[in-house]
Symmetry: C2
Subunit: 456 residues, 2 copies
């Protein structure tokens, strides 16, 4: 172990400039920024490490990078691991809440800050470092390694399913290491083996052709009120979705998945401290616990609201239009298009047929079988790196979303996460970071996993 750590630390230090330049690329997919330069940069990093690459772009969208590293002569050529990563990042706004420049990697108190560092550029880099370390050993790479690195994950991966379906033979493998992963607020290493799905909507209301002097509010309705009442009708203030049929198609979790979740404890206090929460958890009045809600139950979230006058001071106006962004995290069994239909029907039935509903992106949820040998090898290798079973948690479903369903459906493989994230990593928020210590440990875990998977 000590020898591996020294070698890994040397590799990390040797490639710091390369990594920082990767972070400086502002590859925001929703704004279509720096996509092709980032693809070229990823290709170079892989080839420098010793892999073959192929750029897939024949199905539209941002290019998908395929990479391949062949097992060494002493390795097991029958075994193949697929790493899934993405080179795109979230927008950096609100910019004025960043304490360092969003796209300039900056180390403060052992943490490296940059947009996209934890989600998910560091995770690509540590996997390449693990491969480089193994290629430098006498034994060489213990198994074949493939990568699928896409550029639209932060935009809902609209084209990934088509690429995986068409190139299913190219990506054939025995299991997939997911793009994210890392430690929870209790400093336990969490292995996620499922994700929630997503139905993300724009809502629009229009009440007039022009903004109107608010004195006419005595008789004229306005878009802001219409939207407010429509939204309030969708979910109550205790987090229960009021849309008829919303919960109907949920597929119950397996008994081992339930057991795994019931062994976990989500610390309300720690999460409140990390984010500075002003309210208690909204699971208090529901039939499920916080742990169950995060793993097994869908959400409905207002991500944005806009109407009328929003500057300082007063303007007395009936706003002619109002809009909201609504994000539903779905669970296995729920279909984004059906959820769209149910919300549409709810709005119509409740007198809100004037509220336009547009599905911007939809993704189905996925859960791996946590008893699969691939998943268990990820767990066992993590226990060796992170200090035993008490420090490793096997999670049947992450509360977040990703295109895992396509991997399960077209490749038929289990999925498990491993990454260098930490509980205060602030993915999607200002001051995103990874801890340098986690960066080293994450690399070591990938080394250990590849060594053990050879014989799993």
């Amino acid at each position: 172990m000590q020898k591996s750590l020294e070698s890994v630390t040397e590799i990390i230090n040797a490639h710091q400039d390369e990594f920082y330049d990767y972070l400086r690329l502002d590859s925001v997919s929703t704004q279509n920024l720096s996509i092709l330069p980032t693809v070229a940069y990823v290709k170079d990093m892989i080839e420098r490490t010793g892999g073959e690459t192929r750029i897939l772009d024949d199905l539209g969208g941002n290019p998908v990078v395929y990479a391949y590293f062949k097992a060494g002569p002493e390795g097991n050529a029958e075994k193949t691991v697929l790493f899934y990563n993405h080179y795109d990042v979230q927008p950096e706004d609100p910019v004025d809440e960043w304490e360092t420049p969003p796209f300039e990697p900056t180390v403060v108190d052992g943490k490296l800050y940059c947009r996209g560092v934890t989600d998910n550029k560091a995770n690509l880099v540590i996997r390449l470092y693990a491969i480089e370390h193994l290629l430098n050993t006498e034994e060489g790479l213990p198994c074949n390694v493939k990568f699928l690195i896409e550029g639209e994950e932060e935009n809902g991966s609209p084209n990934l399913n088509a690429y995986i379906e068409k190139y299913a033979d190219l990506f054939e493998s025995d299991g997939c290491i997911w793009e994210f992963g890392g430690k929870n607020e209790n400093e336990q290493f969490v292995i996620e083996t499922g994700v929630k799905g997503m139905a993300y909507f724009d809502l629009f209301v229009e009440s007039a052709d022009v903004d109107i002097h608010s004195s006419l509010g005595a008789v004229v309705d306005n878009a802001a009120w219409r939207l407010t009442h429509a939204l309030a009708s969708l979910r109550d203030k205790d987090n229960k979705v009021l849309v008829d049929g919303f919960y109907d198609d949920i597929k119950p979790p397996s008994s081992s998945a339930l057991k795994a979740v019931h062994e976990r404890t989500v610390s309300q206090k720690k999460i409140s401290d990390i984010y500075g929460l002003k309210h208690p958890f909204i699971t208090d009045k529901l039939d499920w616990t916080a742990e169950e809600a995060l793993a097994f139950y869908p959400t409905m979230t207002i991500c944005g609201l806009l109407s009328g006058y929003t500057e300082e001071g007063t303007k007395t106006v009936l706003p002619r239009k109002a809009s909201a962004k609504l994000d539903c995290r779905l669970v296995p069994g729920q279909d984004p298009k059906k959820i769209e239909q149910l919300i549409r029907q709810h709005l119509d039935r409740n007198g809100f047929s004037d509220v336009e509903l547009v599905l911007l992106k939809g993704q189905k949820a996925f859960r791996s079988d946590i008893d699969d040998p691939f998943v268990q090898t990820v767990r066992k290798s993590a226990e060796e790196i992170y200090g035993g079973p008490d420090n490793v948690v096997l999670s049947p479903t992450n509360a977040g979303t990703g295109p895992m369903y396509s991997f399960g459906q077209h490749l038929g493989i289990p999925v498990a996460s491993s990454g260098c994230g930490h509980a205060e990593g602030k993915a999607h928020a200002p001051n995103e970071s990874v801890r340098l210590k986690d960066f080293e440990e994450g690399t070591l875990h990938m080394v250990k996993f590849l060594q053990q998977f050879k014989d799993a």
Copy 2:
């Protein structure tokens, strides 16, 4: 009449450049723009017309312009009319919905477009033109005329009450012609003798110190949901305010005020056509008619909403803060500070003590006695200019707001409106305008009124 018209037309034409330069001054009080240059410009216009001026600025806020024109030798020096005007205007946003430059006066199809033209720069100018016309006649000015021209009306006139109270002797008069006025959607000339009051609020909610990845929405509430539910609890979708006690202090209108309102008909179809309304009037499910609602009942309006991500595309975030602007139009008996208390109590009682409520401006409503001779002289002179009783409407209360309460309280005088506005004038909205024809008729009405008031 014909001779007066010719003379008035000449005066209007002669001073067009002066008027247009007045319109070009972007005197937006909520943004503190061009205030002192506009005061100097107004002073010059009055002195050029032959009046004395005095700038009052010892009580803070934007300066108040006092003006005085003495009755001629054949006039009645015992009679004094006070004109109330304001030189400030509303902000011009949303700028991209203007079809002409907001601060460049532009005539299209007999209408003069400019921010502030109908609210209320044209009304000051036509009053000065009427005085100039009368000063040019052999009889001279029939009575004394005073002006009170303030610069904070669009910001809720926060200092006007103090100026009127301190300078009550200076502004002593027999009645006040209000700043606005003009024709309704039926082309009737409307004389307003009261205004609604105002309580304008900012609402703020904060749910965390940072924006959070929306996957945590399974357990963490967010500011946008809190605000949405708080707002929805304040007023139902049928326009009934749900705040306990909100309607309790309303002073019932007098029988002559009620009678006057019941003689009017507000055309839903015409108002819908003018503004391109997408919904029917929201008085359908209330106990009062549209006419009564506009005159006698208070409103609660969302003027603005802002939270989280509001750009194109998707961002999956729990917004850490949300804000709304809420505007209540009040009626006689209602006190803005008491309304603030009632809303605060409502929020607390309904579990929204986390919602911050800030009263940005408050004004009480006012109604004149419509049987007062001053009001009746405005009506009779209007009937001569505008074509008889069928074309003139005496309105006990305008649906809008103004600082009329201070005039009634400190000067003890009745108030009535006369102006050159029209139903499609779009005060406070893009493409604000006056019609050139109304501009001439409005000047003639002021001439006729001053002549008749001499002996009223």
